[in-house]
């Protein structure tokens, strides 16, 4: 009787896109009114399904937490009543709730906290998209096969007994043979159906990056990267309806493989309804993995994934102007000396940044792990040793000057820092902010549609501090590299750490 539910699902099929790569959980760190909030949303792997939400309120005055899910198209009019979160047993400031989503799509959770400080509201955008589910556990698989054999034997014996004793006359063996044949045919038919349904599900529903073509051309002594959809699809057509994520339509990350020694965070310009272009800095030649984060106006996020081979750089690899000269010569952090945003075909954003190192220069100290930044600065990863897979944590960093004194951070695209996490095999990639892993553009879009919630202010760090943190949960064990970007003394600096989770 689930026929009905499938009808709207089929209408949503073209929007099975992927935000981040292999990292579906949403982390939120901010405020709801006067209450500091840290929330984690674990969307269901399949739909319909339940998202598990946990909300930690760092305030003794909070009394109750409730959530109201809102779907993009139907808005608050199409939302159920708020769901009261339950306080987790043994905890004083942690609540949990289960929120059901019927269909894939763009949702938000309207979080309300009530307490002695009054009511506080905030909005957490969530993309509910189908993921590749967990395979059958081996024990269950074996048990099912065993029971299937027993059931088949039982069916044959029953048919044989009936045929031997009843109205069919004494035709036991023939009836058993026919029953066995029917069972085998049935099993084959079911196996084929299973295989076909699984293939169709993987092909049509499981979130995966939209195929995108990346090419590099030389134009007026500039290397220009161009990104276009590889196939025409509903998602590709929606490129015309993007909204800026902290001021940029696309955040593009380039990672040089296999060394991972070059990292760039640039912001291509849209030069056509379905085309983005970017004047590349003089990055070293080689193979690069590209991750491009975009957000559609309905709040759905997508990470474009592709590869490109960069030619020998025009003008020499990373021969930077004095502004970005590294005193040690080991780490180079580049930023454009001049913006070229007024060019029609290609350009470079003022907040583009790139990073080259000749190998990680990490050292472990009593306070944590330290990596060297350009200009003699150092980046401390305070809790690198406490990070484990499957548990959310706040990745905490601090920046120090060459003299060991705290180096105050300046806003970089409106926040104290940015981070990118990538698993060695490329199966995980996430773009993190101090406020979490959610899309701020999606949050703004939902806020625009609703007059209930108020905007969130990132609370993980203040610009005056030398510290920045990123809430995140490594989805699975493995080798990861994390790049952390901060702005110090007007310069964007990037530090990298390798982690074995």
């Amino acid at each position: 009787m689930k026929n009905w539910r499938l009808i709207p699902m089929l209408m949503l099929l073209p929007f099975a896109v992927e935000a981040h790569v292999g990292s579906p959980n949403v982390f939120f760190e901010g405020r709801a009114g006067d209450y500091p909030v840290y929330a984690v949303v674990r969307p269901p792997a399949a739909l319909p399904g339940a998202a598990q939400v946990s909300v930690r309120v760092d305030s003794a005055e909070a009394r109750a937490v409730s959530l109201q899910p809102v779907e993009w198209r139907s808005g608050q009019q199409g939302s159920p009543q708020s769901i009261a979160a339950q306080r987790v047993m043994g905890e004083t400031n942690l609540w949990s709730a289960e929120v059901w989503f019927l269909y894939p799509g763009s949702y938000s959770l309207q979080l309300q906290i009530t307490g002695e400080k009054g009511d506080g509201h905030t909005t957490i955008p969530v993309n509910a998209l189908a993921q590749q589910g967990q395979p059958l556990k081996p024990r269950l698989r074996v048990a099912l096969i065993l029971f299937a054999v027993l059931l088949a034997a039982g069916a044959i014996l029953i048919v044989g007994a009936v045929a031997n004793n009843g109205a069919l006359g004494n035709a036991s063996h023939r009836a058993m043979a026919i029953a066995a044949l029917c069972l085998v045919m049935g099993a084959v038919a079911i196996a084929i159906r299973w295989r076909n349904m699984d293939a169709a599900y993987r092909d049509q529903w499981v979130q995966k990056p939209e195929p995108v073509n990346a090419s590099v051309r030389v134009e007026a002594e500039r290397a220009v990267l161009e990104l276009q959809p590889a196939v025409q699809s509903a998602t590709a057509a929606s490129w015309a309806a993007l909204v800026p994520e902290h001021g940029k339509l696309m955040h593009l990350f380039l990672v040089r493989e296999p060394e991972l020694n070059v990292f760039a965070h640039v912001h291509p310009f849209r030069t056509g309804a379905q085309r983005f272009t970017q004047e590349l800095p003089a990055l070293p030649a080689g193979d690069y993995q590209l991750y491009g984060d975009i957000t559609f106006e309905n709040g759905l996020g997508q990470t474009l994934v592709t590869r490109v081979r960069l030619p020998e750089p025009i003008g020499g690899a990373l021969t930077p102007p004095p502004l970005v000269t590294n005193v040690s010569g080991e780490v180079i952090c580049g930023v454009p000396s001049t913006a070229m945003t007024n060019r029609s075909e290609a350009g470079r954003d003022l907040e583009d940044s790139w990073h080259l190192d000749s190998g990680l220069k990490e050292v472990s100290t009593g306070r944590g792990r330290v990596t060297r930044l350009m200009g003699g600065y150092t980046l401390l990863f305070e809790n690198a040793g406490a990070v484990i897979a499957g548990r959310e944590t706040s990745l905490r960093f601090a920046v120090f000057g060459s003299d060991g004194r705290e180096a105050p951070l300046q806003p970089y695209m409106g926040m104290p820092g940015h981070a990118a996490v990538r698993r060695a095999d490329g199966s995980v990639f996430a773009h993190l902010h101090p406020a979490g892993s959610f899309s701020m553009a999606a949050q703004a879009a939902f806020l625009q549609k609703s007059d209930v919630a108020t905007p969130t202010v990132a609370a993980a760090a203040t610009p005056a501090s030398n510290r920045v943190s990123f809430p995140y949960q490594f989805p699975k064990a493995g080798a990861y590299r994390i790049w952390v970007q901060v702005r110090v003394a007007g310069r964007v600096l990037t530090g990298a750490f390798d982690l074995e989770i």
Binding site: N3, W4, S74, S79, W100
Partner: protein, 386 residues
């Protein structure tokens, strides 16, 4: 496997036959009732947990069937060990009526499929489409359970009147389960299309002929159709009395009570026609003395009686006069998550799915084939005494 220990007049068996018939009949009833409830629950509340009340009811039906099967198995086996002749079939050292074996097998199949179904929902949701393997296997277990219940009622002795009523009732519950399995294809909005009549012709004559053949009276198919109509109509009237509201989204049709299912299909008219044909089979033996002739006649009268009745009734169900608690029609009752506007009172599936003369011929052939199979199953059940 050993041979049967003997055949005695059925009244001399030892196990509690009344309990077996009532218990299995109840299980056979709870299955479609719980499925209709589940449909209403999903359409009104939306949150579909593993142990939601309708799902629990389905499990209870299966456990009840298993309890009946085990009780029959225990009683039969003990009686056989005491050296008494038992009207059952033996598998190894165990002896029970064949219906009890089928009930046990159906219950085992359902419970084995259950963890697979839970895993499937978590791994695929509805993304993989309808009728995935676990759903097919669950439907198989439901049908087997109802067939086992019919076998028990057909072979076990009982006061003839009561046994006949249970046979008719069980036939009605098979009709109800079949109608549920056809799903949204049987909505009133689809009832002017060829696919609807093809589906109905493929499945309902089978059950009606089976019910007609297996029952003790002259109006077995009619009584089975009335049982289906009665049970389904009670669900239409009863469910909206319970408060409910959607707990998930999107909500396009707000509601504050459980959504009534669609009014049942009018199978009484073709059932009466089929009963009349079967009664006439003896009188006009020259015309349809063989089974194929009877199946063709049953198929013909099914189409002749069903099509005009349901065609007009569908028009009524979509009209304003049907917008009341009795018929739950008028195109008003839709799942909360379905965005539907003027299509709610329209007939769907025209064009290639229109009911043309060639399509009508296919409907007739399907009905005749279905009737033939139902007749054979009914004959088997009528003759079965173990």
């Amino acid at each position: 496997m050993s041979s049967v220990s003997g055949i005695l007049p059925r009244a001399e068996g030892r196990w509690d036959r009344q309990w077996a018939i009532v218990g299995s009949g109840l299980a056979s009833t709870i299955i479609p009732v719980s499925l209709i409830w589940d449909y209403s629950w999903e359409s009104s509340i939306g949150v579909d947990r593993v142990w939601s009340p309708p799902h629990l009811a389905t499990h209870l039906a299966v456990w009840l069937a298993a309890a009946v099967g085990l009780q029959c198995l225990l009683a039969g086996t003990l009686a056989q060990r005491r050296g008494e002749a038992v009207a059952g079939v033996s598998i190894g050292p165990f002896c029970a009526p064949a219906g009890a074996w089928v009930l046990l097998w159906a219950a085992a199949l359902f419970e084995v499929v259950f963890p697979l179904d839970v895993w499937w929902q978590q791994a695929y949701g509805l993304g993989a489409g309808l009728w995935p393997p676990p759903q097919i296997l669950k439907a198989t277990s439901f049908l087997a359970l109802q067939f086992g219940s019919l076998m028990l009622a057909a072979c076990l002795p009982n006061p003839p009147g009561a046994r006949g009523r249970w046979l008719n009732w069980n036939g009605g519950m098979v009709l109800a389960l079949t109608a549920i399995m056809l799903g949204t294809a049987t909505l009133p909005n689809s009832q002017h299309s060829a696919p609807f009549y093809k589906l109905c012709a493929a499945v309902f004559p089978l059950t009606l002929l089976m019910a007609s053949a297996v029952g003790p009276g002259r109006w077995n198919a009619t009584l089975a159709a009335l049982a289906y109509l009665g049970m389904s109509a009670v669900m239409v009237w009863l469910l909206p009395l319970f408060p409910a509201r959607p707990l998930t989204l999107p909500i396009h049709n707000p509601m504050d009570h459980l959504m009534p299912p669609q009014f049942p299909i009018l199978l009484v008219a073709p059932a009466v026609a089929i009963d009349l044909v079967r009664r006439g089979a003896g009188r006009w033996a020259g015309i349809w003395k063989n089974e194929i002739g009877l199946a063709l006649a049953a198929g013909l009268v099914f189409v002749a009686a069903f099509l005009p009745t349901q065609w007009r009734f569908a028009g009524f169900l979509l009209s304003p006069p049907a917008d009341n608690w009795f018929f739950a029609g008028g195109g008003r009752h839709w799942p909360f998550f379905l965005k539907i506007d003027e299509a709610r009172v329209m007939f769907w599936r025209g064009g290639d799915d229109a009911l043309t003369w060639p399509a009508l011929a296919v409907v007739f052939l399907l009905a005749a084939g279905s009737a033939f199979v139902g007749q054979q199953v009914g004959k088997f059940l009528r003759a079965w005494r173990r």
